[in-house]
Each structure stands twice: as structure tokens, then as C-alpha cells.
Chain length 289, copies 4
């Protein structure tokens, strides 16, 4: 996991509510009057939506509220504002399940970054609809569950997937080239799912984006990390990046170049999520980077 | 026009034909045996299409064929190969018509680049469906023709546009934010038309791309220069570029940032075309940059 | 100037002080208790430097302090914190002087952006050590002062420059390819000067960066906008951008491509400065973008 | 190794000589008259240096010259031109040695790309001045030689390094974060060495580039892959790339972001070299990409 051992634990508030006067003051006062030292604060107002969104991180050292009291104490302030909010503690390490099919580049990239302590998370579980990548799981000492899915057994197999998420106390699912749709019911039960799509969405949503990019003769290709939603490739976008291509690049070259994009775009999105820097509202994200 | 006065005139061949052995040798021999010195040669093979495409530029100084003989002499070689080809002389200066509506940023950018000698071309004609930008034409000493178009008079007005292109001996039309479709019949009569679309095609083809990019919450926006074809925003892409945006960018910011993209992407495409670096085949381009 | 007529006037605080608890709360309370509505707040802590820096913008509509009282009232809060701070009102329009030599591309770009209302500023003054660009000043209705400088008359001529800045009540000088050093004494008298350097600093500081980039065989070139300081090309960097080049690009191509960079990088830096988004400390900037 | 099993073997000529008429014709004729089918040809003229450089690749299937005759046959043509040239056969697989110290990210990246068949090469040897990364070598089944170097034993240890390169028949050395200088005598004995430097050269040549980039307050960082030469970080540049940073990025963030750059920039350079797309002349490269 990310090495933050030199940093004392922090609390991070992700907060949104209808815009109104005094929001910053009220939240800052709550933290200050309880002895907290703010180390990061950022806010955004979506004027059209009339919405205020903020991320505030403060040191727990010297903060006078016990952790189990923070929630009810803050709710007393947030409730009159009509707010949606979450508070995360930096020493509560999130647990990730990675779902894959047969391609290994995103999986290996995530595992190596985890090993290099780029992520403050644990990765106890890999789920796949294919047996192919089990050796990688073994190498990294991670449990691998092969749950094949077809048209007839989807509901039943997704029940198994959900059960595993619960058994392993998973906080975040990363679809690292998982070439299956996830059913709406499962997304409702477990909404924290990040997907990587191998195109610059909304261009080339759906299947075979590199083939279609080649056929269209584009001069730039991209990759998009987004939260999974019921509408395929329509979820809130967290991160995108692109790379130049030319007429010399055949489909195989687009795939090769695209893999480098997929790796970094997915890794950046996972890191932003783990650092509680992403706030979703409607189909959009605010990324407090 | 671009200052190439220090360079002796050159001929540039753009050539494509079914792939076969000896193409490079035959073309290079034609030039060499007539005393020409090749200063640029690039080729591409589209293996899937079985097509060979090349751009070869050579100095006319010391070339022993008279210009009026070059065409028939080369046709004798090209015809057996089943080739499509054009030869351009660098001292035959192409003539551009710029078509605009009300936005001036691409128009001004093209005119200032022309003034700075970035383009080897003349710009004698501006056509608009609005009177708004006439003062700019006046300032730069360019004829401005206001040809309003509505649903009822399109055919008749496009006849006037075509007549102007012929009167002014125009080689290339640049749609510099011309917010009108161009009818198929006109495109058939005059196919050399470059358009700038204010999105990263194929994303957000059609109207209001910035509004739609904002609504979708993308993290990158783009612009695309392409040859105009009957299918709106579906023509062969010459150049694309992108810029990062964030949740802080409202539609007005996307428009502002996008203008910088539109300017440079259109200018690059026009320059590539004027230097005879773009070969179209099917709905794709080879850009010998 | 930038069209913000639909937005009610705002005050923007740029603030830095030694890091300590309660800073956000105290500042937010000052604004809230006086009836202000914060529309933008961002902060940064430089842990190594032990410094807290923030930008807070709030609406003046409904704010109960008279403008002439805001300064002394806030000083009462800021002084015990040991803070450096400025407050800017969005309806006090800053006045820019552009200094040029012979190249017109940055000048024209700034003037056209001003005309397109991308900048909330007035541009009443152009100063040049050459007469060449006077026609552009005339065209845009701006006063042009030709102040030739050589080794012998520098001090005397810079006195004239400073007098002009004072006469025209200039707030910001933009060196838009002004190919002269500015003396330390003048920088002390007038420190708000933004320069554009045609390289990716610290690479190729000093003269002829494109020639040297070509000689070094780099694959990317850049441009850098920074505040001018006594040490040439060593001032705090506001904005940088780059573009790919290849072995095909001769020095003239680097210059041409570089101009596009210079234009956008300088324009972005000027806009960030005018929006009071740049805080300088030491030789660094915080850009609250 | 890169999977080119579907492609018949090719020969690739890398060629440079003083510019003169008929070069393309003579080389193309040599290939065509012997029955070869050119599948890639690109050329460059450095006008200032009076130099012609080309890369030509043709299929060996149907080529009538035996491989052992190609060299002397072509030398008969090349010698009168005063040319430097090499011919590589695509089914002669180059052998790479990777040199590392303690950082594993570039090493792992190269090995995983090799495993994914992105490189047409064998990697039989890893040399390190530290024992740390031996486990990775073991995992991938590659010999690992630990050759510690200090001020006193450099000459002697470099003799061992060179002997290993000879024993393993190494064609290319990749310095994948090898934190030691390589002595001039060794570079003369073995000049095919690619290094990755963790800055945008020539900015921040030498030690601690990320620390210095942070201190300078740059807004973009980079990485550079170049051939190693006697002058540290002064060799011919093959590939560069950059990424945006901000005031929020501490040195650790620059290092983390930089690693992603180092990985892709080094991998691209190695791939370009292996595909014989890089021609060095003076301190510059032509990259026929």
C-alpha cells in the first residue's frame, strides 16, 4: 500500500449540498473548533445545478472528537444543509477486488503499482470469467476465483461474485479489462466499480474500439476510466488520456499503444478514487486533484 | 505566401496504385534518368487494402523534361500500374477561398498566418452567409461575397458560390467555421474542401459539440480538420488535437479553449494540404508529414 | 475585456502565511459573518516551507462591509497570522502595457483575445524599442511609444518607460517578445511583469533557443511564461507547454511551431494573472486554476 | 519476442551518404532488379549537413541474392557513394542485456513487454551493481550477474561487464535506471547502449532531476531516452515525452509520475532501435517511425 507512514492519520470529508451562504465557514468551524488542522481543502460550485461540492482533509492528531462521535456530530451540521457526505479515515485501508478476463496488462500494472506502494489499499481478491490469469494471482499471493459466465447462468454467477465481495469485505471493484457486462441489480448492490474503456469516450463506445478507430482513420486514440453504470460506457468519467497515431499504425499498433494508455488512465483513476478525490453527481465527476 | 524563395522550384508527385514490385525503382528511375534530384520521398503500404501510396518531391532545376511533357511522360509509366496520381509544381501558387459565418477566430488566424508567410497560397476570396465579417476582409484587402442561404434558396445560392470559385480560379475551399451544410452536388463539382469540426471526431459529430461534451463530463476536448464529404463530419480526417478540461470548465470555457484548438488544427491541415502531403483513399488519409 | 457582465462583482483574496490551525475557519468566518457568499476557494500547504496559501473569491452583493473598510477589517485578522495578502475587486479593471520589439505574433494574439473578451483588462499602451509594429497599435487604437534602447541610454530610456507605466496607471506589463533585458532597478519599481520565453525552461535559457534545440536534436520543444526577475529566464514559472518535433523540422519549422506555443502559453499566463489565480512565493508559483 | 511469424522475413537497410542525385533510384534498382519487394522506404535530407539518410525494408521472399552475397553486392554500389550502411535481417533476433541498479520499474516494464511480444529480441542477461533485483531475473528465467562497482575497481569490473556482453553475444545494452557512468573505453568497445534519463534533456542533466525540477517550480516534467556517449546525458536523443505537474506535486509525486514516463519513453526507444528505425549522425538521430 501507499507509504504514508510518515504522515499522521487524516479524515477526509466529501460533501455536496444545495449552494447557500456560509458552507465553508460552517464546515471549517466544525473542524477548527474541535482542534483539527486542515491540510487540504478544495471546493466547486456548479452554478447551473445550484450545487456546492467540497473535499476537506484534516489531521486527526489533535482533533478532539472521538472517531465514533465524528459522524453524529457532523450529521447535526450537515442535515440542515440537505447534504450528501462521507468521511474517510486515511488509516482505514480500502480493499480492492480486480475483475479480469484474459488480458493481463492492466492487472499486472495495478499489482506492480500496489507493490510499489502507489496505492493505499489492499488487494485480496481477483475474480475472472476465465482461468487464464490465475498464475499471476498466485505469484502475487492473491486469491483467484474463476466464475465463468454465460447467457444462462449470469444471475446465479453474479450472486457468487457479490457474495465474494461481501466475504472479502471489498470496498472497490476495478474492472481491469473485464469483458462482460455487469447486471443492473449487481451495480445497485455494489456501486463502487471503476471500468477502463479502450477509447476516448463517447467515441467508440461498445465493442472493438481500436478496429473502429482504425477504420475511421482517426489521428489520436484514447482511453477512459469511469464508474460503471447500467448504461454501458455511459458512466461518470474520472480520467481520460490520448496518444497520437498515424496512417502507419495498423490495428495491432493501436492495440499496443492503447495498452499503455489503458494502464496509466486506469491507475490514475483508481488512485484518485482511493484518495477520496472523486465526487460523483448526476453523470459527472468533480475530481479534486 | 510561404517564403520559399531560397529554394529552387520542385515537383511533387502524389501517387497510389495496387501494390506490386518495383514501384519505387520505376518512379525513382523516371526522375533520376531525367536528371531530377529527389529531396523528399515517403511511401506507405496499406497491406489490407493492397495499396501502395507515395509522395516524391524533386528539384526542377536540372530536370530535363519540359513541364508540359512531364505529365504525358509520367502517364506512360503510371498507366500500366493502374495508378492515381497528381503532380504539383511548387511555383504554381494555389488559390484559397475561405468560407465563414459569424465567428472570426479561424478566419483571422488563417489570414495572419498567410501574412506571416506560413502558407504558400493566395487568398483572394471570402464567402459568407452573413455580412458580419466583411470588415476583416476589407482590412486584409480580400473580396468578400455575402451569399445568404436559407432552406428555399440553397440550390440557387450554391450556384453563385460555385461560380465564384470558378471566377476566382480557386483550388481549395476552407470552411473556417462555416455553419452550413454543403450540398452533395457542390461537393462533387468541387471536392477540395477542408472543414474544421469543433470536437474530437467521431465524438460529438453534429451540432453543439461543446455543450454535449460538457453534459457528458469529458476530461479532454478536441478539434478535427477533415475533408468535407456528403456525410456530415464523416469525411477523411487530416489532423486532430486535444486539450485537457476539468469540472471547473463551463461551456464558455470549453468554447474558449476549443477555439485555440480549432485554430491550430485547421491551420496545420491547410498547410499539409498546400504542401501536397495528404493523400486520400477510401475514407482515410495518408499524411506524409 | 472579458464579459463578466452577467456576474455580480466579486472580491478575491490571495493570502499566504506560516501554516497554523484555524486559518480556513478564520477567513471563511470573516466572509460569512459579513454576509459574503464564497464562490471559489482553493488552498495549498507547502509542508516543507511551512506555508499556507489560499485564494478565496466571494460575491460582493450582500456583503455588508463597505469596500474601503474591507482592507482595515481584514488586516485586523491577517496581521496576527503574519500574512501576506491582497484583495482584488472584479470590477476594478486592470490596465496592461504590452512591450514588443519586432515580432508581432504574440502582440496580435493578445490584442485579438482582448477583442474577443478573453481578458478582463484594458490595454491602453504598447511600448517598443523598434518602430515596426506601430501600425498594429494604430489599427487597434492603442498608444504606441517607440523608445529605442542601446547600451549607453538604457537607464535614461527605462526612466521614460517607467514614467509611461505611471502615466497610464499600468498594473501589468506583458513582455510579448520584447528582446531586451529589463534592469533590476526597474523590476524593483514595477515587479508585475510577465515574460514569454521560447523554450521549455530551464532548457535553453538565454539566446537562440530554437537554434540550440535544433542543434541538440530534441524531440519536443516548449515555451514558458514566467514573471520577470533580475536573473534572466529564472523567474517564477506560471505556465509551460510543449509540441513534438522530428528530424524533419529545421530551425524555421521549430520557430513556426514555437510561435503557436508562445501565443497560447503567454495568453494562458496573462489570463491566470488577471483572474488573480497566481500566488508567487520564493521562486515558485501556486496556480489556483 | 515480437510476433512477426505471419510476416515473411525482411531485410532492412540503414544508409547515409553525402547527398547526390540518383541515390533513391540506385538503391531501389538494386532491390528491384534482384526481385525484392519494398515494404517500407523513408528518407531524409539534412540540407545543412549535405547528408542523405534512408531506411528501406524489403521482403526476402522472392529476393534472388543469397544472404551472404547481399553484403558484397551492395557494397559495390555503396562504396562509390561514400556511404555508411548496415543491413539487418528480421529473422536474426537481437540479444539484449539490461543493466540496472536498485529501481525495478523500467526492468519489469521491459520484461513484461518482452513477454507480451512487443519486442523482437531475446533478453538473456541482466547486469547490476546491486544484488537487489535478482529475484526478478529468477522469476523471468534470465541470468543475473551482480558486479559491484566502486571508484577503485571500475576498470576491472567493466572488463567483466564487457566479457559478459561478448559471452552472451549481446547486440544492445539497455541502461534501465543503471545509476553508474559507463567509461569511455567501454562505450568505444560497445557503442550500442540506450539510456533513460529522468528529465526532459537538456533540462536537468545530471543527478537528482526530480528534486531540481521541483525546486525550479516547472509545470511539466519529462523523460529522455538517448544513446549513451562519453558526455553524460549528452548523447543522441531517440525519444522524449512529458507530463503536466502542478504546485500540489511534491518530489515524491514527480518521481511517481516520472516513472510512468520513463517506462514508456524507454520502451519506445528500445522498440524503435530493434526495428532499425534509428539512424545516428553527429549528435542527432533520424527516427524513421
Amino acid at each position: 500500500m501507499e507509504d504514508r507512514s510518515h504522515i499522521s492519520p487524516t479524515a477526509t470529508l466529501l460533501f455536496s449540498c444545495p449552494d447557500q451562504k456560509g458552507l465553508v465557514a460552517k464546515i471549517a468551524n466544525f473542524i477548527y473548533s474541535n482542534g483539527g488542522n486542515i491540510i487540504h481543502a478544495d471546493q466547486h460550485s456548479d452554478v447551473a445545478a445550484g450545487l456546492f461540492l467540497t473535499r476537506i482533509e484534516w489531521q486527526l492528531e489533535g482533533f478532539n472528537l472521538r472517531r465514533d462521535v465524528i459522524h453524529p456530530a457532523f450529521e447535526a451540521i450537515a442535515q440542515p444543509m440537505g447534504a450528501n457526505w462521507q468521511i474517510h479515515f486515511s488509516d482505514t485501508i480500502p480493499r480492492i477486488a480486480i475483475w479480469v478476463t484474459k488480458q493481463d496488462h492492466c492487472l499486472l500494472d495495478l499489482l506492480l503499482r500496489h507493490q510499489a506502494k502507489e496505492f493505499s489499499a489492499e488487494i485480496p481478491l481477483i475474480i475472472s470469467n476465465h482461468p487464464k490469469l490465475e498464475a499471476i494471482a498466485t505469484q502475487f499471493g492473491i486469491d483467484y476465483h474463476h466464475i465463468p459466465i454465460n447467457r444462462d447462468n449470469r444471475q446465479e454467477q453474479e450472486q457468487k461474485q457479490l457474495a465474494l465481495l461481501q466475504d472479502y469485505k471489498i470496498d472497490l471493484v476495478v474492472l481491469a479489462k473485464y469483458m462482460q457486462v455487469v447486471s443492473p441489480w449487481l451495480l445497485q448492490q455494489f456501486p463502487n466499480i471503476i471500468n477502463i474503456h479502450h477509447s476516448f469516450l463517447p467515441a467508440f463506445a461498445g465493442a472493438n474500439p481500436y478496429q473502429r478507430a482504425h477504420a475511421r482513420g482517426v489521428k489520436i486514440i484514447g482511453a477512459t476510466a469511469h464508474y460503471a453504470t447500467e448504461d454501458l460506457d455511459e458512466g461518470p468519467i474520472i480520467e481520460q488520456d490520448v496518444v497520437q497515431v498515424s496512417h502507419r499504425d495498423e490495428v495491432a499498433d493501436l492495440i499496443r499503444k492503447g495498452k499503455d494508455l489503458e494502464r496509466v488512465v486506469l491507475a490514475r483513476a483508481v488512485r484518485l478514487h482511493l484518495q477520496n478525490r472523486v465526487l460523483v453527481y448526476g453523470n459527472r465527476t468533480v475530481v479534486f486533484a
